[in-house]
């Protein structure tokens, strides 16, 4: 007797069998996966028990032991906040990251528009010029930047920090946006141009709305990069009024610091809230940003 392989019930039974085999394999795999994940997340467990301990409790109890009460958190936050001036540092970093990333993505978008939509002479040469900015390690910028900033009076200034962050966040978004703008059909803007729209209008109302996904993803990537930066801010702006949140965090930690681990760990949590929150809320865009590449 032969089986009719086009018979729907036969196909369904095959699909069902395959699914069951996969599901049981999956169920068996869950044991090592969960064990591995628990081990992987131990530093986070450590973080969440530590923020509820006093310095004295931290020193006397085991580091992985549960805290005696939740109350010390308030004092830890207050200490971290006042010792490191976290409030003003957070506002500094929020403005560097928010404004810097928005300006960088806007400049990159405008440049990508000029390179893909207008008859720009030598468009490839201009692109290569900016793209060169992704090749060098940051270490090659530091000494000349510090020297130039000293000459221009930009050291320890809010504007100086913003300028370097904008510049450093332009090349990668340009690379991505040049690709995504090329993918938008030309009929859209040709029609608008015939209607008499200016290039600025075409850019703002035809191209930008068609690329919101990559634009948001790029904004998030660059925001995270600026918020997380220690290298540039530790050299160019370590003054207490302009320093970034990461410089403030670092000032709490290390050999010469007498701050208790419970306070330092609380400060790491506070300084991670904005980026982690953005990741949780806008996960879709973060993951899309990954597919664009990573910086």
């Amino acid at each position: 007797m032969t089986t009719d392989i086009t018979d729907q019930s036969f196909i369904n039974s095959l699909i069902e069998k395959e699914r069951r085999a996969q599901a049981s394999g999956g169920r068996w795999l869950m044991v090592p996966i969960i064990a591995l994940t628990i081990a992987y997340l131990t530093p986070f467990y450590y973080l969440f028990v530590t923020i509820f301990k006093t310095t004295e409790e931290y020193a006397t109890s085991g580091v992985l032991q549960l805290p005696q009460s939740l109350a010390p958190l308030v004092d830890n936050v207050v200490q971290a906040w006042t010792l490191a001036n976290l409030g003003s540092a957070a506002i500094n970093s929020l403005t560097y990251a928010g404004i810097g990333s928005a300006l960088a993505v806007a400049f990159a978008a405008a440049a990508a528009y000029g390179m893909t939509r207008l008859n720009l002479l030598g468009a490839n040469g201009w692109f290569m010029l900016i793209f060169t900015g992704t090749l060098f390690p940051f270490q090659m910028y530091l000494v000349p930047l510090l020297f130039g900033y000293q000459r221009l009076g930009l050291v320890n200034s809010w504007l100086g920090m913003l300028l370097i962050y904008v510049a450093i966040c332009i090349p990668f978004p340009l690379l991505v946006l040049r690709n995504s703008f090329s993918g938008i059909t030309r009929e859209v803007d040709e029609a608008a141009r015939i209607e008499g729209a200016s290039e600025w209008r075409v850019f703002i109302s035809m191209i930008i709305p068609n690329a919101t996904g990559p634009l948001i993803a790029l904004f998030l990537l660059q925001f995270t990069f600026i918020w997380n930066d220690l290298l540039f801010s530790s050299i160019l702006a370590n003054g207490i009024e302009v320093r970034s949140i990461m410089v403030a965090l670092q000032s709490l930690q290390g050999t010469y610091s007498t701050t208790g681990p419970n306070v330092v760990i609380t400060a790491t949590l506070i300084s991670s809230i904005p980026t982690v929150l953005m990741f949780v809320v806008l996960r879709k865009y973060f993951m899309a940003g990954l597919q664009l590449g990573n910086k």
């Binding site: 999956g26 986070f44 530091l142 000349p144 020297f147 220690l230 681990p261």
Partner: protein, 314 residues
């Protein structure tokens, strides 16, 4: 009306039309300049000019307070190999690059294959990705206490063995680099895994099914089907991780804050230490040039390999 047709073809009219066209094209180029100007100016002033200046600087005797006075020829580069710190930093950087290639890839691939067909995959992906969203400074501060003498790892080992264990992971030369690389891997494995999962998901199912029907073992399927198809993704991940291996700074600087010989931990740290803790600007610039040369050479080589592999697959 007939006369106007011949009038339109007269040389004069053609000339006028041509010049109008040229003017329109010229005008578009000028508009285009306005669009690219902010990006071009920012990148040229703040990134490219410093790089050129950095290279020039590396041939001078400049220190923080002496001012840019005289050229020193190759003196800074000769000094690199005359002091033991540089060679040590170079060796550790090599260790970092190898570690940044091998470990995230090995663990990331293992995780990706484990998580490929399981329920709650998205939740697991997010959990493993979370450390990447945090700053290396914050991750370093947490792991500083994880590795501390009475920190998480030593407590766990003490608890498991019953004896008192207080090894100084990031305080002794034998383990400091590997310990910090391990933290780097902890932070990077999630993004590596997510990228590899994307590569796996994009893979054609037919060859896999065919191999399974033919009775190929899991290892044979991986070795002869999954791995070659995944190679372009593997190379993308490798290019990202190699650059990170060469230049990681924040994590090292924070975690090695109590390590006496921290300047030797990598070229990125050595460059920072010499330039900004010692004020040897010209010498620090020379270190940066060497680092830049290595990063660009290795990245370019990998990019060429990647484009060849992609071509051969198509």
């Amino acid at each position: 009306m007939a006369s106007s047709a011949s009038h339109m073809l007269s040389p004069d009219v053609i000339k006028v039309a041509r010049s109008r066209e040229r003017r329109a094209a010229w005008q578009q180029t000028r508009v285009a300049w306005l669009f690219i100007a902010p990006a071009v100016i920012m990148v040229t002033v703040f990134l490219l000019t410093p790089v050129v200046f950095n290279v020039i600087l590396s041939f001078t005797k400049w220190r923080k307070f002496t001012g840019l006075d005289q050229f020193a020829g190759m003196a800074n580069y000769q000094r690199l190999f005359a002091v033991p710190y540089f060679s040590e930093a170079l060796g550790n950087t090599a260790l970092w690059v190898v570690g940044a290639i091998v470990f995230p890839l090995a663990f990331g691939l293992g995780l990706a294959l484990l998580l490929r067909n399981i329920p709650f995959q998205e939740t697991f992906k997010s959990l493993y990705f979370l450390p990447k969203v945090m700053a290396p400074t914050a991750v370093g501060a947490i792991w500083y206490y994880v590795y501390a003498p009475h920190g998480v790892i030593n407590s766990a080992v003490s608890g498991l063995t019953g004896s008192d264990f207080d090894f100084g992971w990031i305080f002794v030369p034998e383990t400091v680099t590997l310990s910090i690389i391990f933290t780097f891997v902890w932070q990077t494995v999630g993004i590596t895994m997510v990228l590899l999962l994307l590569g796996l998901a994009a893979m054609p199912r037919d060859p896999l099914e065919a191999a399974r029907v033919d009775g190929a073992s899991q290892w044979q399927i991986f070795r002869h089907i999954i791995w070659p198809l995944l190679l372009p993704t593997v190379l993308v991940v490798t290019i990202l991780n190699v650059a990170a291996g060469f230049t990681t700074f924040d994590l090292l600087w924070v975690m090695a804050s109590s390590y006496p010989g921290k300047r030797t931990l990598s070229l990125a740290v050595y460059m920072y230490y010499e330039s900004f803790s010692n004020g040897a600007w010209a010498y620090g610039s020379a270190v940066a040039v060497v680092l830049g040369g290595m990063v660009i050479t290795v990245s370019a080589a990998l990019a060429i390999i990647q484009s060849r592999v992609e071509k051969s697959i198509r």
